[in-house]
Point group: C2
């Protein structure tokens, strides 16, 4: 998670929302990335999605060979990144903090089709404080109503 | 949808699962793609996802300018593609057939966070028969238990 936090810091220095991710197969790092949404002026360039795009065929091969895949991320995935994790049969997602605006953990795979009955396992809280401090720095600098609302939601995660 | 079906036919000629998609802003075509999963040997190369990756910044700009975005697809999106549609604030997704293995339409956005309370509107059935025939051709050629199970699920969609 420390590497993912380093990536999150990198995104912050380039005025992107601070998020970093590291993709691991049986303890070996496959790749790492930071969020590049503002840099790339798009909505696909989430840290995790960039890793799924770059290493999709590597992941497919690793899963066929029986590797256990873990995604470390400083923020709970969005529906796109979580869906991509499900598509790649990622085993575990370890997130430093929940995303109170997205709240993907509430998804109920057993209400969807057969393919989603087994979803990646989501775990929270590892290095929460470090990730939260970066997000807080970004949202305080943004200084608008949306950012203030988002920060308020994170304060509630902190209390829980 | 006819263009999306043409793309689905292209994917079939290259031994990919037949799926095609066309992205439209206020009636103007932004882009079109076919599924390239087998060609690219990965799990990101869905027809829709390839369009979100290629046209992400175009979509962001179009939404800011107030365009209504529609995705025409020959098959109901998976969780990754649907999540990407939500992220890009796509207004409508028109799918020729539901995906009985994925069954994404059962997702309940109001149980997730604020961001997902307004999800893209999903519509089904336009050109169902044409898309179904392509899928049937692919699954019959695959000739294995998984393909037979999948085809059985599509037969039930056909009856409904």
């Amino acid at each position: 998670m420390q590497l993912a936090l380093d990536k999150a810091k990198e995104s912050l220095t380039k005025d992107n929302f601070p998020c970093g991710a590291v993709l691991v197969a049986d303890g070996e790092i496959i790749g790492q990335s930071e969020n590049k949404k503002e840099t790339n002026k798009d909505r696909v360039s989430h840290a995790e999605m960039l890793l799924y795009i770059e290493y999709s065929s590597v992941l497919k091969k690793a899963k066929k060979e029986g590797y256990t895949i873990t995604m470390y991320t400083t923020l709970e995935p969005c529906l796109m990144c979580f869906g991509s994790a499900a598509m790649h049969r990622v085993d575990r997602i370890v997130a430093a903090t929940a995303d109170p605006f997205g709240n993907m953990s509430q998804i109920e795979g057993d209400k969807l089709g057969q393919f989603y009955n087994s979803l990646p396992q989501l775990e929270y809280g590892l290095c929460f404080q470090e990730s939260y401090e970066l997000i807080k720095e970004y949202l305080l600098a943004a200084d608008n109503d949306e950012a203030r609302n988002y920060l308020q939601l994170f304060e509630e995660v902190k209390k829980s």
